[in-house]
């Protein structure tokens, strides 16, 4: 059915008469696309209603007589300039803070594209904003705002890699002579039990740019895909301006040789399209190798111009998800939440209920309360979905 139809919008707003409504309801039931369209329209309408309602709250109704609605001109001759000055001051402060962070990001982007060494992190408020990889423009904060506003986030709002990296995970400090620590753990993929989930965690010792690329052993891995990251043309993850102690978490879902890929993933392998890729033969792999993947890190030392290489090969010891670390479980929960929010074709068998279950198991000490807040957010998402 045509989803770009004013009738469908009228249906979403309950503006159709009974006969039209019933006729359209049947068509909608048969079209997941139309259903999605209606959900998104209703989410936007909830936001709009909220914002329009806020306009009416800005100014409480004046208690006046019909004959005297005008304001006292003397009052306004004094109050207006004061109010204007206050507004200007307010925006100046906000603008300054935001412009600062904007510039910092611009720096990071410039550094990323030129692969020049990162400068030390900026100081003050700006630094606080990007501390631990959390910044105010992170997709997670947007998703959180939308859900708290009672709206189901739009696809464009959900960036799974940013959601995962909003949270901090416990990775070891780099060894004395190494710029990064590489942590890899593998366990059963909780939303598709025949698949394996790989978590790669990198932690930096100093401000650095790096490129990370895993290669998978085709004797063990049929295909794999990187979770999150749209429009990826190669597997390389580029991290710009990593500050000391900052960490980055990347998840891959791998389909072991002999296991079934989900249909969407199979199609992607066939067509050679983006996210899913077959593991390729490579000189390093022998058919008897027990290794599942090798993580390659390339970086430049601040004082050098030669690219350095770090490698870490990993064996899959067949760990079950139930025995995985709390951090692993929590990262998986956030990834699945993002996939459910964005109706990703890779979401597998997970539900908001299982997301809560995994996040609860992965909650750990939660020193800053972010994980408890995440659990609350999933509960709110369930309420929105139920309405």
């Amino acid at each position: 059915m045509n989803i770009d139809d004013p009738k469908l919008t009228a249906y979403a707003l309950d503006e159709l008469d009974e006969a039209e409504r019933a006729a359209l309801a049947q068509k909608v039931a048969a079209s997941p696309e139309a259903d999605r369209e209606i959900q998104e329209t209703q989410a936007m309408v909830r936001l709009l209603r909220k914002e329009f309602a806020a306009e009416l709250k800005e100014e409480s109704p004046r208690r006046t007589n019909l004959g005297d609605i005008r304001d006292d001109p003397w009052f306004w001759s004094i109050a207006r300039p004061l109010a204007i000055a206050a507004v200007i001051a307010f925006f100046a402060v906000i603008g300054l803070a935001i412009f600062g962070s904007y510039k910092l990001h611009q720096n990071e982007i410039a550094q990323a594209s030129h692969s020049t060494p990162a400068s030390p992190p900026a100081s003050g408020a700006v630094e606080a904003e990007v501390e631990d990889g959390r910044d105010l423009t992170n997709s997670y904060t947007l998703v959180r705002q939308l859900i708290n506003d009672g709206a189901w986030p739009f696809k464009g709002a959900v960036r799974i890699e940013e959601m995962i990296n909003y949270f901090t995970y416990d990775y070891p400090q780099p060894k004395a002579n190494e710029p990064f620590s590489i942590s890899v753990d593998i366990a059963t993929c909780p939303w598709e039990s025949s698949h394996r989930l790989v978590r790669i965690g990198l932690k930096g010792a100093s401000a650095q740019n790096l490129r990370m690329q895993p290669t998978f052993n085709p004797a063990r891995v049929g295909s794999y895909h990187l979770i999150g990251y749209k429009a990826v043309n190669n597997d390389e993850i580029e991290v710009a301006g990593m500050s000391p102690g900052q960490s980055v978490t990347v998840l891959y879902e791998i389909v072991p040789v002999g296991a079934k890929a989900n249909p969407a993933a199979r199609d992607q392998v066939k067509s050679g399209a983006s996210a899913t890729r077959p593991a390729k033969m490579d000189a390093r792999w022998t058919s008897s190798s027990a290794k599942v993947l090798t993580v390659k890190l390339r970086y430049k030392k601040p004082d050098g111009n030669k690219s350095e290489l770090m490698e870490r090969a990993v064996v899959d010891d067949g760990k079950e998800f139930a025995n995985a670390s709390p951090d692993f479980k929590f990262a998986a929960a956030v990834a699945e939440f993002g996939m459910l929010l964005s109706s990703s074709e890779f979401k597998g068998n997970g539900t908001l209920d299982t997301v809560r279950e995994w996040a609860e198991e992965g909650k750990g000490n939660d020193p800053n309360g972010h994980r408890a807040e995440f659990l609350e957010l999933v509960r709110k998402a369930q309420t929105i979905k139920g309405t």
């Binding site: 309602a53 806020a54 306009e55 906000i94 105010l136 696809k155 993850i237």
Partner: protein, 185 residues
Amino acid sequence: MFDGHANTDSERIEVLLRRFELPLLQFATRITGDRERARDVVQETFVKFQNNGVFQNPEPATWLFTVCRNGALNVCRKERRMQYLDQEIIETREAKQQPMPFERLEQEEAAGFLMRIVATLPPRQQEVLQLKFQNDLSYQQIAEITKTTANNVGVLIHTALKTLRQKYAGAAKDFLPFTPRTNET
């Protein structure tokens, strides 16, 4: 339409004033672009309402918004402040310029950036959105107020919502990227 058990005319008007003053003020402000002129328009609307004895009308919303809209358009016409005069002109009136990326970032940080996107829509779309989602009026009521058909109201709302969703998602996409970034060749 409104609550309370007002029995006398003056009580009834008092209730209506309380119920509709701010919605009408917001509506007239969007048309005139000026809060003070909008206040005058709303006051005139209530005076007419009282003089014409239409307060017995059980559904005063349509009447109030229609009179308020006419009053606001008259103000624009008299002052030649803009071309917010009639149908065609309303439709062709240029929407405000899209904010620049820097401004957009600033606005997103402030609460209510959706309304900034609303302000970039054509005025015709803005007014039906406001009548629908601020005042909960039906397509039919909105059609009467804006002198068009319910069908056309449906098209305007559909188009407006579609644009809003695109721009809103676009704004989300434009949020500056968090590292790690992938190498997009």
